[in-house]
């Protein structure tokens, strides 16, 4: 057992200490599945024939078409739509305020957690490889982002709570007839959130430094390392939110902003 992960002669520390022998293959598998799913979707869309063409576009042609359509009026207008419609969901704001709040909480909660995860991963390597620092660098960095981490987690949770309450009690139109995939999404995200808070609770019972040192961990919380809930949370989240994404209803998270960008912001922007 080491006090961190030895990579190219340097010790890399982090706060999770999930068994990397499980996590790394799952992460690689998830990313591969994500791209396979993306390819299969592009291949499906690519069976369509673009206006003015005589043959189907194919997967690669569709990808080029998407980029072309988004930027055909220049980078400035495209960025405007990406920011206003993609990041701040202007079309939803105009018509459905509660739904906008729900979407923004889920979207920014999810994006925030994702960005912090990327930042933490970068700091893990930046400390030992660039600064030649010991574990305290990452410990301090992690402490500095922990409040934001909690904020984004609560945003995500609040958004999901609004989604469920809205669906059950305050729907202004009848639900769609085909809702089975909605429930798969809601149950899946529910599992991610519940196990996530549970895992965070287990982590939170220890100080950051203790969490980073396996020896301290094992002494203080012998059940945490290889804890089934924590491990399940990490594995399930990767599989559900990354690998399954292109095959699921949640794929609209990617397709909807793309369509808004391709259609230059949609009706109201095209016909002001």
């Amino acid at each position: 057992m080491t006090e961190g992960l030895e990579i190219f002669g340097r010790t890399v520390f982090d706060t999770l200490f999930i068994d990397w022998k499980i996590m790394v293959p799952v992460a690689v598998f998830s990313i591969i599945m994500f791209f396979v799913g993306l390819y299969l979707q592009l291949d499906k869309w690519g069976r369509g024939v673009p206006e003015g063409a005589t043959k189907p576009a194919g997967a690669w042609g569709t990808l080029k078409l998407i980029v072309h359509r988004i930027f055909e009026r220049g980078i400035g207008p495209a960025l405007g739509i990406i920011i206003l419609d993609g990041l701040f969901q202007r079309r939803t704001w105009r018509r459905r305020k509660t739904e906008w709040l729900m979407h923004i909480l889920i979207f920014w909660g999810w994006v925030g957690l994702f960005m912090l995860t990327v930042a933490a991963a970068a700091a893990e390597f930046y400390g030992p490889f660039i600064l030649n620092a010991n574990y305290t660098f990452f410990a301090n960095f992690w402490k500095s982002i922990e409040p934001l981490n909690e904020l984004f987690a609560y945003m995500l949770t609040a958004g999901i709570v609004i989604a469920v309450i809205r669906r059950i009690a305050f729907a202004d139109v009848p639900p769609a007839r085909f809702t089975s995939v909605d429930w798969i999404a809601i149950i899946g995200i529910g599992i991610v959130v519940v196990t996530g808070f549970w895992a965070q609770g287990l982590r939170g019972s220890l100080g950051v430094e203790e969490r980073m040192l396996i020896s301290a961990y094992e002494a203080a919380a012998p059940s945490f390392f290889n804890n089934a809930v924590v491990l399940f949370h990490e594995v399930f989240t990767l599989l559900f939110c990354v690998a399954y994404l292109p095959f699921s209803k949640l794929f609209h998270m990617l397709v909807t902003p793309l369509i808004i960008m391709i259609n230059k912001g949609g009706y109201v922007e095209v016909n002001p």
Partner: protein
């Protein structure tokens, strides 16, 4: 084991449209505004969201990742037929696209999917299947003769042989709503705007074929567009005026696609032309009309093309007129119910939507409903009559002509002529009743059956309307 063949094709759909089917978030905003869903007693199979989800499922069953790995799933033909019929229960008004949180261009999506289903063999719907033959061979959807294109003309109207301004009359005004043709022509004459028309050389704009997904059958819309464009170009037209919103939409959006480049002339709607003339101080009102008026934005002029303010500008400038808005106006207007082939294919649905729209009119308390599309006018007249409302329904051009001191009378209408052929607001003419048909050998109707309503327009005349009927 041999794999199934996909139950559907993806013909006529672009990659972007296939993405649009996957982009729907099921929020249901479109459901709140869909006029046909409402008129069909909120039948969920009619709502735009449901159609998107069903077609998405068909595509995934035929071409999704499971189909790629394990072969396509079968889709019962009756499911595809039901979907087709539901898809045609739509006026392609575009309201769903206007409010769509995912920014889906639903008008193009419905039309492309309809074209796909026509190729599949399940579309179009009912009498819509007559359009290709009627428009392809007769160049109009009303079974009329090309030589009668200018039969509406009265001796007072002057049409130039050559002019850089053309008036594209359209089949509806030319054959069935002569009041629109004579009013447009008289206004142009009064404004000293020389204009020419194509006459027998004018072909249907072919909008009905495109709206119903039949654009590829014999390539009729393309041929019609190219014929009209070349004919107008050959006559030296620099500016073409359209008084029909449907033709105008076709010229602005559909014709350039067929032509492959921008049109060699400017297409302008009569309401825009009137607003221009008003700005130039050329329109002089000679009468006033002390009435409350509301304005119905035709989908093809408003949402599809973006002309909202010019008709209102003209109305507001009219002496005595008080313009009130319906709750749903401009971008969020409710469709009249006639478009997308619904009037021809599913008349009861067209009537249902028209009645809803007339309900919107009633809520304003307006005495007059003005529109800028002869097709809307016709359907709203039907809705008005079915509801037995007193509201007068007419075209902006007819109202303009009257207040400019011009006659809106047409040639004496033939017995049983369509009620929309004369002005509804200025009831200076009546349509003689159709002579009774000789008795048939067919079984008699039961004694309790209601007598058919006469096609004659009501005879009461508003006080301000001119009473001369000299044409």
């Amino acid at each position: 084991m041999a794999r199934n063949k996909p139950a559907i094709s993806l013909e006529n759909l672009t990659p972007t449209q296939l993405m649009e089917y996957d982009a729907c978030t099921r929020c249901g905003e479109c459901v709140k505004y869909c006029p046909t869903y409402n008129a069909r007693n909120k039948d969920q199979a009619i709502e735009p969201r449901d159609k998107i989800l069903r077609w998405r499922e068909f595509v995934n069953k035929s071409y999704g990742w499971k189909a790629k790995l394990f072969g396509p799933d079968a889709i019962p033909p009756e499911e595809i037929k039901k979907f087709t019929d539901d898809l045609y229960n739509c006026t392609t008004c575009g309201m769903c696209g206007t409010v769509c949180c995912a920014g889906i261009d639903t008008i193009e999506l419905w039309e492309a999917t309809r074209a796909n289903l026509v190729k599949h063999g399940t579309g179009p719907y009912g009498k819509q299947s007559l359009f290709p033959k009627l428009i392809g061979e007769g160049h109009n959807p009303y079974l009329k003769q090309q030589k009668d294109r200018l039969a509406w003309m009265t001796p007072d109207i002057k049409i130039a042989d050559k002019s850089d301004i053309a008036y594209f009359i359209g089949c509806t005004a030319g054959y069935n709503q002569q009041v629109l043709g004579v009013s447009t022509a008289r206004i142009l004459n009064k404004l000293n705007v020389p204009f020419m028309v194509l006459g027998e050389d004018e072909w249907c704009c072919a909008s009905a074929l495109i709206r119903t997904g039949q654009q590829h059958l014999g390539d009729v819309p393309k041929q019609a567009a190219l014929h009209n464009i070349e004919a107008l170009k050959a006559r030296g037209a620099k500016r073409v005026i359209f008084a029909c919103a449907g033709c105008f939409r076709a010229a602005k959006i559909d014709w350039p696609k067929a032509y492959g480049k921008p049109l060699p002339f400017e297409a302008i709607h009569m309401s825009q032309f009137l607003a221009e003339q008003l700005d130039a101080g050329k329109i002089k009102w000679e009468k006033n009309l002390e009435k409350t008026i509301t304005y119905h934005d035709p989908c093809h002029l408003g949402r599809h093309v973006g002309v909202f303010e010019e008709p209102r500008k003209v109305l507001k400038s009219m002496p005595g007129v008080k313009l009130v808005e319906m709750e749903r106006n401009r971008h969020e207007q409710r469709c009249c119910g006639a478009g997308g082939g619904v009037k021809a294919g599913i008349p009861d649905l067209a009537l249902g939507v028209a009645k809803d729209r007339m309900g919107d009119v009633k809520a304003t308390g307006a005495e007059v409903l003005i529109s800028t599309c002869p097709f809307c006018r016709r359907n709203l007249l039907d809705g008005r009559d079915d509801l037995k409302m007193e509201t007068r329904v007419d075209d902006l051009v007819v109202l303009t002509a009257n207040l400019m001191g011009l006659s809106t009378d047409v040639k004496p209408p033939a017995p049983g002529a369509p009620k929309e052929s004369i002005s509804d607001l200025f009831r200076t003419q009546t349509i003689p009743p159709k002579p009774p048909e000789p008795p048939k050998e067919a079984p008699k109707a039961p004694a309790s059956a209601p007598a058919p309503a006469p096609k004659e327009a009501p005879k009461d005349t508003p006080k301000e309307a001119p009473k001369n009927n000299k044409k």
